[in-house]
C-alpha cells in the first residue's frame, strides 16, 4: 500500500495520471466537439431532434445542399477575398511598422507598445468604433474624405453591397496590424546587427541588405504570421456581427458568419456543421504547410 502511494506521488502512476489528465482534457473539450460536429454534418438535425443522439443519417445530402446553395459561390468568394486582402495588408503594414520601430529612434519601444492598444480591445468594441467611423450619414471617414476633396457625395460603407465587405476588411486589417507588427518585431530583433554590418562592408546597399539578409532570415516569422493570420481571419466573427451582419443580402457574408447564421438563426444545424467541417479541413491544411515550412528553417 505505501508502495502504491509512493508510486502515485513520484513514479509511474503519477506519470500516467498526468498523461490521462491531458488526454482527458483533449478528449472532452477538443476531440468530442470536433467529432460531434463531424457527425452532425452527416445528419438531419432540426430543433426537435437537437436534444437526442438518435437522428437520421443523410449521407452527403447536407454537403450537396450547402455547396449547391444559391448564395454559396458568393460567400466562398467573399471569404477568399476577406482572408487574402486582410492578410496582405496586415502583414505588409505590420512588417513595415516593425521595420520602422527596428530603427530604434527615441521612444520607439514606448510607441510600439501603444500600438498594442488596438489589439487588446474586444472585437465587438472595435466593431462598434468602426461602425461609427464608417457610418454613411455622420461618419468620420466620409467627413475626412470630403474635406480632402477625394469624394463628392457620401459612401454608405456598411449598406452599399459593393463596399460592405471592404469595410469589414479595413476594420480587420486595423485590428490585425499590431499582432503582425509585434511578432515580426521579435523576429527582426533576433537578427544580429553585425550581419547587416558585414553585408554593408561586403558592398550591399540598404535594399540589397533587406532582400538578402532580412527577408531570408524572417522566413519563419513571416510563415508564422501568415499561417496564424489565415486562422485568425477565418475566426473573425465579432466584426461581422457588429458591422454588417453579413449583409446587405450576403454581400459581405463569409463562411464563419454563414455557419453561425444557419446553425443558430435558422436552426439548420446540419448545414452549419458542414461549413465548420470544411473550414476545419482548410485550417488543418494551412497548419500542416506552416509546420513543414518551419521545419526546414535555418536557425541563427
Amino acid at each position: 500500500m505505501p508502495r502504491l502511494r509512493h508510486s502515485f506521488r513520484d513514479g509511474p502512476a503519477f506519470d500516467a495520471f498526468l498523461v490521462l489528465l491531458a488526454l482527458g482534457y483533449l478528449l472532452v473539450l477538443s476531440a468530442f466537439p470536433l467529432v460531434y460536429n463531424l457527425i452532425l454534418s452527416f445528419q438531419d438535425v432540426d430543433l426537435f431532434t437537437l436534444a437526442s443522439f438518435d437522428r437520421p443519417f443523410v449521407g452527403w445530402r447536407n454537403y450537396a445542399e450547402v455547396l449547391g446553395a444559391l448564395v454559396a459561390p458568393g460567400i466562398f468568394a467573399n471569404t477568399a477575398l476577406f482572408v487574402a486582402l486582410s492578410l496582405l495588408f496586415q502583414v505588409t503594414i505590420g512588417f513595415g511598422l516593425a521595420l520602422l520601430f527596428d530603427l530604434r529612434f527615441p521612444g520607439a519601444r514606448w510607441l510600439r507598445g501603444l500600438f498594442l492598444a488596438g489589439w487588446i480591445m474586444p472585437g465587438l468594441v472595435v466593431g462598434a468604433v468602426w461602425s461609427w467611423i464608417l457610418a454613411g450619414d455622420f461618419g468620420v471617414l466620409n467627413h475626412l474624405l470630403r474635406t480632402l476633396g477625394m469624394i463628392d457625395g457620401r459612401i454608405f460603407w456598411l449598406s452599399d453591397p459593393d463596399m460592405a465587405l471592404y469595410s469589414v476588411i479595413i476594420a480587420n486589417v486595423w485590428l490585425g496590424i499590431p499582432f503582425n507588427m509585434i511578432l515580426l518585431s521579435v523576429g527582426l530583433a533576433a537578427i544580429p546587427d553585425d550581419l547587416y554590418e558585414a553585408a554593408a562592408l561586403d558592398g550591399a546597399t540598404r535594399l540589397q541588405r533587406f532582400r538578402t539578409i532580412t527577408l531570408p532570415l524572417m522566413r519563419a516569422q513571416l510563415g508564422a504570421v501568415i499561417a496564424l493570420g489565415v486562422i485568425f481571419t477565418l475566426q473573425q466573427f465579432d466584426l461581422f456581427a457588429a458591422l454588417t451582419q453579413g449583409g446587405p443580402s450576403n454581400a459581405s457574408n463569409v463562411l464563419q458568419y454563414w455557419s453561425w447564421q444557419m446553425s443558430f438563426q435558422e436552426y439548420r444545424i446540419g448545414h452549419g456543421a458542414v461549413v465548420s467541417v470544411l473550414m476545419i479541413l482548410f485550417v488543418v491544411l494551412v497548419a500542416a504547410v506552416y509546420v513543414r515550412s518551419t521545419r526546414q528553417d535555418h536557425a541563427v
Binding site: 550581419l195 554593408a200 561586403d202 538578402t212 535555418h298
Partner: protein, 363 residues
C-alpha cells in the same frame, strides 16, 4: 610599399556624454600589420568601426589609399572586416558566404565558383563548401570569416578581436595562420585585440590605446624596451612590470627603493635631479637572483610557482615584486632571496605625470 594606405587625422567620437575617441591620428603604411591594443573601453574597437564606416565621427578625416572616405558609407570604402562573432550569414552555405560580395557585384556564377574553390584551398575549407555555418566548429567558422574577407581583395583588412571566441590552443594556431596569410597576400591589416601577447606576436606596429587616446605606437619590442609611460609599461609584457616608489639619491646617479633595507640601485650613465620622487619599473625577468651573495637587495619569498622550465616568485614586500627566472629555483615561502638588477634595465617614471624619464634606457 611605404606610402600610407590608411590615414586617420584628428578623429573625434562621442557617445552621448562619453568621449570615445579624443583627437586620434594614425597612419598605416601599405603592407603593414598594425595591432590596436588596450583595456576594454579604450576606444580601439570604436576606432576600427570608424575606419570601416560603421560609426560616424564628430570631427577628423579618413583617407584610404589616398582617397578621402570620411563621408563614404562602408560599402564604398573597399575594406573587409572579420568580426568577433564572425557574422556569417546563417542562411547561406560556406560557398555562398564566401561569394556574397562577388555576387552583389554581379560576378558570373562560374567565376564565383572558381574563386570560392581557390579561397577554400587557401583556408582549408575545400570539403566544407556545401555546409551551413551552424554545422561548423568555431575554428572553421573563423576560417570562413577570413575567406569571406580575402576573396574580395580589399584595400585593407580589419580584424575586431577575431580570436577571442576560440580556445587557447586554436588561438595560438590561428595567430600564426592570420599573420602568414597577411604576408602571403601582401595585405594591409588593422587588428584590434585586448590581448597584448596577440598584438606583440602578430603585429609590425603596436598601437596602445587608453581612454580614447593613443598612448604610444611603435614596433612591439620598442614598446617593450622603451615604454613612453607607466601605462604602456604595465600593459605590455606578461607577467607585468613591477612598479614601486623610489627617490633619486643625492648624487643623482642612484635611486633608493621603498623596500626593506632601503636598497639603492645604480642608474648607469643616467643623471637625475637629486631627491626627485619617481616610480621605478622593474620587469620580472630583470630581477636576477644573485648566486654568490652579492646582489643589491635581500627580500623574503612569499610564493613560488614552478612551471618546470621556469620559476616565478612573489616577494613578501609591499608592493610585492614578481620575479621570473628561466630555470628551477629551490626556494620555499619565507626563504630570503638576493636580487640584482642591471642598471640599464631600470625604468623610471615621473611619479605625478607617469611619463618615462630618460626613456633611452635599453635592456
Amino acid at each position: 610599399m611605404t606610402e600610407p594606405q590608411i590615414e586617420l587625422h584628428g578623429i573625434q567620437k562621442h557617445y552621448g556624454a562619453f568621449h570615445a575617441l579624443r583627437d586620434v591620428s594614425l597612419t598605416v603604411p601599405a603592407g603593414r600589420f598594425v595591432a590596436l591594443v588596450g583595456p576594454s573601453g579604450c576606444g580601439k574597437s570604436t576606432l576600427l568601426r570608424v575606419l570601416a564606416g560603421l560609426e560616424t565621427i564628430a570631427a577628423g578625416r579618413i583617407r584610404i589609399a589616398g582617397r578621402d572616405v570620411t563621408h563614404l558609407p562602408p560599402r564604398l570604402r573597399d575594406l573587409a572586416m572579420v568580426f568577433q562573432s564572425y557574422a556569417l550569414y546563417p542562411h547561406l552555405t560556406v560557398e555562398q558566404n564566401l561569394t556574397y560580395a562577388l555576387r552583389l557585384r554581379g560576378v558570373p556564377r562560374a567565376e564565383c565558383r572558381r574563386r570560392a574553390e581557390e579561397i577554400a584551398a587557401i583556408t582549408g575549407l575545400q570539403s566544407l563548401l556545401g555546409r551551413y555555418p551552424r554545422e561548423l566548429s568555431g575554428g572553421q567558422r573563423q576560417r570562413v570569416a577570413m575567406g569571406r574577407a580575402i576573396i574580395r581583395e580589399p584595400r585593407a583588412f580589419l580584424f575586431d578581436e577575431p580570436l577571442s571566441n576560440l580556445d587557447a590552443a586554436l588561438r595560438v594556431q590561428m595567430r600564426s595562420e592570420i599573420r602568414k596569410l597577411h604576408d602571403r597576400l601582401g595585405a594591409t591589416s588593422v587588428y584590434v585585440t585586448h590581448d597584448q601577447i596577440e598584438a606583440m606576436t602578430m603585429a609590425d606596429t603596436v598601437v596602445v590605446m587608453r581612454a580614447g587616446r593613443i598612448e604610444q605606437e611603435g614596433p612591439p619590442l620598442a614598446l617593450y624596451d622603451r615604454p613612453a609611460n607607466r601605462f604602456v609599461a604595465g600593459f605590455i609584457g606578461s607577467p607585468a612590470m613591477n612598479f614601486l616608489p623610489g627617490e633619486i639619491a643625492p648624487d643623482g646617479r642612484h635611486v633608493r627603493l621603498a623596500l626593506p633595507g632601503d636598497p639603492v640601485l645604480a642608474l648607469g650613465s643616467r643623471r637625475l635631479d637629486a631627491g626627485r620622487q619617481v616610480t621605478v619599473g622593474l620587469r620580472p625577468e630583470h630581477l636576477v637572483p644573485a648566486e654568490d651573495g652579492s646582489g643589491q637587495m635581500t627580500l623574503s619569498v612569499a610564493l613560488v610557482e614552478q612551471t618546470g622550465s621556469a620559476s616565478m616568485l612573489v616577494t613578501a614586500t609591499d608592493p610585492a615584486l614578481t620575479v621570473a627566472v628561466a630555470r628551477r629555483l629551490d626556494l620555499r615561502p619565507g626563504d630570503p632571496i638576493r636580487l640584482s638588477v642591471d642598471p640599464s634595465c631600470i625604468h623610471l617614471f615621473d611619479s605625478v605625470t607617469e611619463q618615462a624619464l630618460s626613456p633611452e634606457v635599453m635592456c
